[in-house]
Structure formats: structure tokens, C-alpha cells
């Protein structure tokens, strides 16, 4: 089958690989119909996540059709078209039973601090991902959700990560009616977090990024105020100024390890890998939220350390919440929102490319070329 393959930092290609096999009685094999490139893939692409092995296939955002099931699979059958949450979760462990499907204890041997994620290095369990024609989906009784018959596959594929992550970003921000919410990052995740902040009753939503085309997009898609942080001086002072010098009630970090905006963070975090990525946005988040406010982290950082002003977090009495999104927990509500026209996921898709051109897709998404917001890869077998 055709699959994306990692060759080293900033080098990927499409190659022929052996078909995935059933390795556990609850496994299913899925023929991929759509797969996206995500901001999370950039951390792997740039070589910033330890134990990313050459030859691995990325891709944690995919939908597909079940073509084979293991003997213990009862909840889905061959021929079903399914949304595959990006987390691999057993549904039975102490954490899964608390709804923490992003923190499963029975799917990742290599690390305990992170659950398993499709196509996301051996640090996240060593599973191949869905940027391929076929993928192995473990715990098929737990993760996959059947795509409602009236749902567009383009909407479905964004329910594997982007919509739930934006939503959980807003949820973890503990937004109360009328709150001012600041979102750092106007990528797909930040744009979705800004859109979802309104669902929790936000009174004002403000987004910051450095890409004007993304800010423009966010302003229209998420109905929020949008500012280019390269044009406002010190972003923390700017936010204080526009919030009556109090700071925002809630701040969401939707940037993570590839953050720009602070040379020291960029050099130590992204170039020298002395930190687990550049923590610029998180640094700004802690300093621009009001005293007693909440910082919600959905931006991804590596497993080592980061430079953040933790003293300020203590002195200001902040609550800091973060997690890998519990996709499965949120899907029922979010499918409803999509069906009721409250969220329009496919509105984020700007590019569609054949899987064969995966290297170009990564370059374009990574460098924010051609006004790219979200790219969908189409495997040759996905006869639309």
C-alpha cells in the first residue's frame, strides 16, 4: 500500500509499505478515505519529538472504511465508515473509565506521561498513522464512531481532532458567561477554540497570530477580534491595555512547541532543542491572564522541560489546565453541533492533495504557504 514515510527532520515521502495486520483481537483495519496534516505533525516533521523513528508513517487525523476486524470486535463491522479519534484508548483502564480517553494506560508502553496517538512517534506508542491507504486501528470497540449517513467526509475527518481539540481548549478555559477569552495561535486549533469559546458564553474573544491571512480567516470564521502580535509591541501589555489593565479572564495556548516571537525561546527550544520546544505562547499566556484566571494549554510540547514564568503563575493564583483531547468523550455533542449547523468544520479546509504529494503538503503547511489553513490528503484508494 502507499504510505507517508518519515526520513529525518523535514524529509518525508510517499512509499510502498506492507499492509497493516491484525495484531490483537480488538484490532480493525481501515481503508483510509481522508487524512489531514496537523500542527502536531509539525513537531514530528521538525524532529522535535524524541524517538521518532525513520520509516514511521504519521497521521492521527483520518476517517475510513472498516475492511477487516479481529475476533473480539463487536461494535463495528466490515463496511462501516468511521471517525477514528486520534487517541488510542482501551476503554477499560482506570483513566479511560473516567472519560480520559487521551490518557489511556494500556496503549503506550514507551512512555507513561502521554497516551497513545496514531502516527506520533514511539514516545506516543509507536503506532503507524493514517496518512496511508490502510491503517491498523486498535481497540476498535472503543475508538471508532460510525459516520452519520448525512455527514460529509470532510466534516467527519475534522472531528477526529481539530473540532474536539478546539472545543476542549475552550472547555478547559473554564469560560463563564461574559468572560474575555484570548487565544494564542490562529491555526486550525486556535480558530476552532475561538469559535467554540462562544458556545460556552464568552463575552469577547480575541485571537493573536503573526500570519495576516490566518487572522483574517479567524475574524470571519470565529467572529473574533484578531491581532498580529508582530505589530502590537509587547503582546502582554497590549492585552492588558485592551482589557482595562486587568488581563483576560481565560487564555488558551493553541500554539505549542513551534512558537515564534521570542528569539531566546526560538533558539533554545526549536534550534538547539535545549527545551521541549519554544514556550513563547505559554509564557505570554501566563503573563496576560488576569489574577486568578485560567490558562488552558492545548498546544503540544515535548517531554522534557520548558522555560515558563511559573513564579508568576503562583503569585497570580492561576489555574493551569491542559490535556490531549479526549476525542471520544466529546464526539456525541460535537456531532450534534455539526448536524445542527453550529460548527462548520469543513470550512477550514483550504487544500486537498493526493497522498503521493505528501512531501509538498508538509512543506506547504509547515511554511504557511499559499494561505494554507488545513490540508487534506487523499489516498489513491479513497474513491471519494
Amino acid at each position: 500500500m502507499l504510505a507517508m514515510e518519515y526520513r529525518g527532520p523535514k524529509r518525508v515521502r510517499a512509499v510502498q509499505k506492507p499492509m497493516p495486520e491484525i495484531k490483537h483481537p480488538q484490532d480493525a483495519i481501515v481503508r483510509v478515505l481522508r487524512a489531514c496534516i496537523c500542527g502536531s505533525d509539525l513537531h514530528l516533521y521538525n524532529g522535535n519529538i524524541p524517538d521518532t523513528r525513520v520509516g514511521s508513517t504519521f497521521g492521527h487525523e483520518f476517517v475510513g472504511e472498516i475492511v477487516e476486524i479481529g475476533p473480539d470486535v463487536t461494535k463495528v463491522k466490515v463496511g462501516d465508515r468511521v471517525i477514528v479519534p486520534f487517541n488510542i484508548a482501551c476503554g477499560e483502564c482506570h483513566f479511560c473509565r473516567q472519560g480520559m480517553f487521551g490518557n489511556c494506560h494500556e496503549s503506550n508502553t514507551e512512555a507513561t506521561a502521554v497516551g497513545a496517538i496514531f502516527g506520533y512517534s514511539h514516545t506516543a506508542g509507536g503506532f503507524d498513522g493514517g496518512q496511508a491507504e490502510y491503517a491498523r486501528v486498535p481497540y476498535a470497540n472503543v475508538g471508532p464512531v460510525i459516520i452519520p449517513p448525512d455527514m460529509d467526509l470532510d466534516d467527519a475527518v475534522l472531528l477526529t481532532d481539530v473540532v474536539p481539540t478546539g472545543y476542549q481548549g475552550a472547555e478547559m478555559a473554564g469560560i463563564q458567561t461574559g468572560d474575555t477569552v484570548v487565544v494564542f495561535g490562529a491555526g486550525p486549533i486556535g480558530i476552532m477554540a475561538a469559535r467554540c469559546a462562544w458556545l460556552f458564553g464568552a463575552g469577547r474573544v480575541i485571537i493573536l497570530d503573526k500570519e495576516d491571512y490566518r487572522l483574517e480567516f479567524a475574524r470571519n470564521y470565529s467572529y473574533c477580534e484578531a491581532y498580529n502580535f508582530q505589530e502590537i509591541g509587547d503582546p502582554v501589555v497590549f492585552i492588558k491595555k485592551i482589557t482595562d489593565w486587568m488581563g483576560a479572564d481565560c487564555v488558551i495556548d493553541a500554539v505549542g512547541a513551534e512558537a515564534a516571537g521570542n528569539t531566546l525561546q526560538t533558539i533554545t527550544g526549536r534550534k538547539l532543542l535545549l527545551q521541549a520546544g519554544s514556550a513563547t505562547a505559554l509564557h505570554w499566556a501566563i503573563n496576560s491572564v488576569k489574577k486568578g484566571g485560567i490558562v488552558s494549554i492545548v498546544g503540544v510540547y515535548g517531554p522534557t522541560d520548558n522555560l515558563i514564568p511559573i513564579g508568576n503563575a503562583m503569585n497570580k493564583g492561576l489555574t493551569i489546565r491542559g490535556n490531549q483531547t479526549s476525542v471520544k468523550r466529546l464526539l456525541p455533542r460535537l456531532i450534534e453541533h455539526v448536524q445542527n449547523g453550529i460548527i462548520n468544520p469543513k470550512g477550514l479546509i483550504t487544500h486537498r492533495m493526493p497522498l503521493e504529494e505528501v512531501a509538498d503538503g508538509y512543506r506547504m503547511f509547515s511554511d504557511k504557504l499559499d494561505n494554507c489553513i488545513k490540508t487534506v490528503l487523499m489516498p489513491p484508494t479513497a474513491n471519494q
Binding site: K23, H24, G55, G99, Y139, E171, W198, F200, G361, L369
Partner: protein, 180 residues
């Protein structure tokens, strides 16, 4: 963007879905809906059916066992594999775990190039780096990358032509390659 007039706030109530998920009880532990501690959980030792371990899986020492399900692609191999095995002897709490792993990733990359060459395939680094997109949408970036890639390629050739010579010398060259 300097024109703040385009940022006039709108009346939130006009936004479709405004407030439908508002929840005053959303306290900081909220995403853990059914909060329980391990002591309260009669099933905390329960495990799903176990996947048969028939290949090498490196295991974090912060857990007692291999997870019920695990990924099987790309088991550790070569010099990078040796480094990884060593790294997994230390917990996730230690730099001795993560720093060698980053080194192993870079060694793996070099081993990947050698493996390609050994199979008679010269990797098309331009295509792998999506240079076509740069040429199309980012000309200046294209030329910067051209220079970088040429250097990398030269490095690879130097490295490859050194294959078979004594071990010490080769590892020095590998280090030089990584510095490029």
C-alpha cells in the same frame, strides 16, 4: 491589521450557538467527569486482553508491564537501536532518557540514508523536503534551502565514501554530518 476599526466587537448573542454549552459548574477538575482515586476503584488492576509480544518493544521503566496493546512498526535497529535500548534504562524523569533518544533519532536519519543507498536508491532530498512548494510560493526560501541541501548532500557523499574505514573515524564523520 493596524486598523483596529475592523476589530469592532459584535454582540455575542447574535452568534449561532452562543452560550449553549455554558456551564457554571465547569470547575478546574471538570474534564475528569467521574473523578475517582485509585483506592476507590475496585477495577484499577483490571487489564484488557493482551497483545502477544513477538518483537522487541522498548518499555518505560515507570510502568511494570508492556501495555495491553502496542505499536509494532520500526523496532529498534542498528546503532540508533543500541542507543535507544540504553536510553530506555532510565526513567522519563531523566535527561539520560531523552537526550540520547534525540541523538538516536539523528543517527537513525543517517542510517536511513545509508540504507537507501545500500538499496541502490539515492534519496531525492529536494522532493522529500517539498522544494516544489517553495519554488512556487516562496522563492527566497527556495534558494536558502538549495544551499542547505547541497551542503547536506555533500556531507552524505563524504560520509558514504568513508564507509568501511575504521569505526572511530566513521563516528567522527557522523558527528560532522549532524553539525551541518
Amino acid at each position: 491589521m493596524k486598523d483596529n476599526a475592523i476589530n469592532t466587537p459584535i454582540d455575542p448573542k447574535q452568534i449561532k450557538g452562543w452560550g449553549i454549552d455554558a456551564d457554571p459548574k465547569n470547575d478546574p477538575t471538570y474534564p475528569m467527569r467521574h473523578r475517582m482515586n485509585v483506592g476507590e476503584d475496585p477495577d484499577s488492576k483490571h487489564r484488557p486482553t493482551l497483545q502477544h509480544v513477538d518483537e522487541e518493544v522498548l518499555k518505560s521503566i515507570e510502568r511494570p508491564n508492556v501495555s495491553a496493546v502496542f505499536g509494532t512498526p520500526e523496532p529498534p535497529r542498528g546503532l540508533s537501536g543500541l542507543i535507544r535500548r540504553q536510553a530506555y534504562k532510565y526513567s522519563e524523569n531523566q535527561y539520560k532518557h531523552w537526550l540520547p533518544m534525540i541523538l538516536a533519532d539523528r543517527v537513525d536519519m543517517i542510517e536511513g540514508v545509508l540504507d537507501d543507498l545500500a538499496h541502490g536508491h539515492v534519496p531525492n532530498i529536494f522532493a522529500e523536503r517539498g522544494a516544489k512548494m517553495d519554488w512556487k510560493y516562496n522563492r527566497s526560501g527556495f534558494f536558502t534551502r538549495l544551499a542547505t541541501i547541497s551542503l547536506l548532500t555533500a556531507g552524505t557523499i563524504v560520509l558514504f565514501s568513508g564507509k568501511g574505514k575504521n569505526k572511530n573515524k566513521r563516528s567522527k564523520k557522523q558527528r560532522r554530518y549532524q553539525d551541518l
